[in-house]
Symmetry: C2
Subunit: 68 residues, 2 copies
């Protein structure tokens, strides 16, 4: 398992936290996601042989948030 | 049909708009709801013989927003 932290901007409430969490969880190979609204971060644990960070970022952007 | 406008504070994003809309729509006798995030309002059309404004307010408060 690998770990990465994405910087997510634009989250304003708990609904946003859930939207970001669910978006990343929907990427194949992602094992766990911890989203912090106050820090603007998503800590992701994933199987690097399946999941690509670019797909996590695309999933978050699709929900309307900026991500680095 | 009666109409009323509730003042809802605490909405920060489109998810919040939907949460408030769905909460009010869940009250028996409510026919339509228009929520404005920017104005902090919910315009409700309802059958006064079935729906009570107090129930609409309670449903919104249950979602974590203040309402007048």
């Amino acid at each position: 398992m690998e770990k990465t932290t994405l910087q997510v901007s634009g989250m304003t409430c708990g609904h946003c936290e859930n939207a970001v969490k669910n978006a990343i969880m929907g990427v194949d190979g992602v094992a766990s996601v911890m989203v912090s609204l106050s820090e603007g971060t998503a800590e992701v644990e994933y199987d690097a042989s399946k999941a690509e960070i670019s797909k996590m970022k695309a999933a978050v952007e699709e929900q309307g948030y900026d991500v680095e």
